[in-house]
Symmetry: C2
Subunit: 526 residues, 2 copies
Amino acid sequence: MQAKQQSEMHPSRWGDPDRAQALPDTARGMVELVFGLDDRPALVDPALTPSALEPAVLAELAAVVGPDHVRTDDETRRLRTRGKSTPDLLRMRSGDLTDAPDAVVRPGSHDEVAAVLALAGERHLAVVPFGGGTSVTGGLVARREGFAGVLSLDLVRMKRLVAVDHTSMTATLEPGLRGPEAEALLAAEGLTLGHYPQSWEYASIGGFAATRSSGQSSAGYGRFDALVVGLTVATPRGRLELGSAPANAAGPDLRQLILGSEGAFGVITDVTVRVRALPEVKVYEGWRWPSFAEGAAAMRTLAQSGLLPTVIRLSDEAETAINLADPGAIGGEGASGCLMITGFEGTPTAVAAERAAVTAVLADLGGDSVGEAAGEKWSHGRFDAPYLRDSMLDVGVLVETLETATFWSNVDRLYADVKSALTASLGDPSIVLCHISHVYETGCSLYFTVAAKEADEPLAQWHRAKVAASDAMIAAGATITHHHAVGTDHKPWLAQEIGPVGVSVLRAVKADLDPMGILNPGVLIP
Amino acid sequence: MQAKQQSEMHPSRWGDPDRAQALPDTARGMVELVFGLDDRPALVDPALTPSALEPAVLAELAAVVGPDHVRTDDETRRLRTRGKSTPDLLRMRSGDLTDAPDAVVRPGSHDEVAAVLALAGERHLAVVPFGGGTSVTGGLVARREGFAGVLSLDLVRMKRLVAVDHTSMTATLEPGLRGPEAEALLAAEGLTLGHYPQSWEYASIGGFAATRSSGQSSAGYGRFDALVVGLTVATPRGRLELGSAPANAAGPDLRQLILGSEGAFGVITDVTVRVRALPEVKVYEGWRWPSFAEGAAAMRTLAQSGLLPTVIRLSDEAETAINLADPGAIGGEGASGCLMITGFEGTPTAVAAERAAVTAVLADLGGDSVGEAAGEKWSHGRFDAPYLRDSMLDVGVLVETLETATFWSNVDRLYADVKSALTASLGDPSIVLCHISHVYETGCSLYFTVAAKEADEPLAQWHRAKVAASDAMIAAGATITHHHAVGTDHKPWLAQEIGPVGVSVLRAVKADLDPMGILNPGVLIP
């Protein structure tokens, strides 16, 4: 399966325009009942202000990357404007293109990236590295003040599988490869990365690394930062190459300083990742739990027994009832409880053994298997939620997600506090759903989906709810983000999470690697 | 089992003086044959120069930590002088105490550590954090130049189990707890850390964290840096608290910047670690392989199949023949090949299942089980090698270890190159032994033990060999250290490994957190 080029995405919607759809009939009735339908006018492509860049500067850029790879046309600039958070979509739908880059520059190699950075330093241009454009935290909105212009550094030309080491089971990938492209290249070698975030069809290898992405199969394959054994980075200070061994004691692990650096310390120009053999078998199954708490406890037992399957997710009562609304899938019309999805990938022998062990534990703890149909349904629709969000926005329903993580002993409190904060802020009519999708021995993530009737000022409406939820996370001692990264949106809470000394360290590293501050200014660093 | 206080260690030997011994008869004949015996004169406690600190400064320190906890007597200072590398022991044996601290200060809390750092900044004193004193890379040798004196910041009073979270399976430990002390406190809660480096009987929790330690059970429990979920650090810039979740995407993972910081960025005042249930069963087994390469390939297969046991180690032909010389243990007098140790820890059910799976793989690949006796023998003597080194030094045989790691496809080259470099440098008579003791999906460590007839200038003799081996590691693209850390000894090669941009980042972080440069000056940062 090969997704279309990012350049074919619509600027104010998610993904492939051919897959855009009106609200499905199955959902339309419920949405009308809860929120009412408020069809929004058809969207037009909003106009841009002209590029601020002088022709001489554009010529200098063209001398580095070639004239075909410096673009200032409206369509290209529009498609590199912001990311795909709901506020991003709302701004775009309202015609606000103030954050558009002045030019889109497409380097073809590490050396071209380095040369663009050097030129940007000389000409006082801000540089926003661009991979899949799927940020949901404002990671693509560079501060313009103090700069002569903003470049979108589009890594679309850097899509090679640079090296494969079948003995070490590693592969070196360029940053512009999107999820399906990387998997296709690896599949030809009999390998898989196994990294499937919801944004997988569009997000890029460089973005996975820069944002500490975590995929739906994280229990089996690990978070993206756990897959990375090496990195090459172009910084204004020079080239940084890391990854002399799987692990070492040669000082702090600087790989973990680049992972999560969100383009603010440098541009990742290749990533060496641990790979696995392509699974021969993939099987997904549904389980019903009487309550969210009991399902979560079962997840904890699996994690602490070393028995995690490849995929494990658990929806709360509300998400089970609404988002996975197919009563037949979890035990018949009117069945209550919470749906868990388990997935197993690997050789037939390994899958059979792991599935048997997991089944024994879950059944013993009070779970009821509802069979593979529920698992297949989840698997089939696993990348589709952002399309549904667009359909909801089309009828005046604001939909957004946010997520956090904490240690097991704090999960109940965090769940209750964030849910309360969102519900109180959004008022009626609104819906707050939650699932657990990333599980560790010591804790797990919580992922919230919110729907509310769009107010007159939806940006302010959502901002208030986001602030309330984020404050609740930090007050509970949890993280502001498990896998969505910091961007511009999470900066105030990052500052609280890591404290003034942590912020000081980030600033010191930024000042050292990017002394002129040209890289993604305003992103990440509080 | 409770090891003695560090203060009872002999300054120029390893560990408990009561366990010091003459070269065992079993080894004496072979040592005489290979190297000759050259008994060294009995050691005397060398004299120190007086403390450089003014009484007024000592009084200020005493006002912070209490008068009992500022020590300037010779014995206390001698016991905080350098670590336990062979060069450290040779210097001490020769009476060189030039690196002795001027005072040993023992804070009792995070706030006292912070107050000592503030005072040290005012009085221009270098501060060397001291846990177990087991560094083998010069990690306790602070640069004196530019300072009014050197303090050893002994964390011996900070030995609390601060918190246990049985739900999240985490525990918060103070840095002065040594391995056995931490395990005893956790065992009372039914828990284990499972971290057993060779230095375990003396090394401390703070040291494990500061040096990215890796234990003999790393395959089952993980490296120490993989166990850490939270840290509190006292820096001259202020208090740094990290660890809001098992994992997150809230910017770079700053925990991984403190892990491996070797006291140069701050003093770790507590560590929150993932713990496991105390294993009900521990079983160790020996396997014989026709060659080191075949044994290593079997380790790789296990790692890449997700079937690693709790412990897995493999000695090369030379180490099997010499160090584990008990022909009966691996198949009778004159049996050749390589000895592998596998170990399984956990519940009876889990151990039985894992052992069966591992046994099937190893037997299929051509390994021969030699039973549990060889495993028990390894387990029994697993912390004793440093005592044997002292006995060898007593008869004029220089013994030292060094280690590295790389990806699987590079193991053969790295092994050959480092072995050649050591052999060529040390000449005859010398012995070079190697084992693999830490295994990952993508690679493994190589741990070398060297013995050579002591030359007239043994420090220079060893320095030449160390340089040759280290150059070979870097030339092979491997790491300068998998688990011994950087200290002062590895700095030139760290600079090559992470390059000038990596060095620049370390310096920037150092300058930010420790602007006066008082923390372990000369250690870690090239």
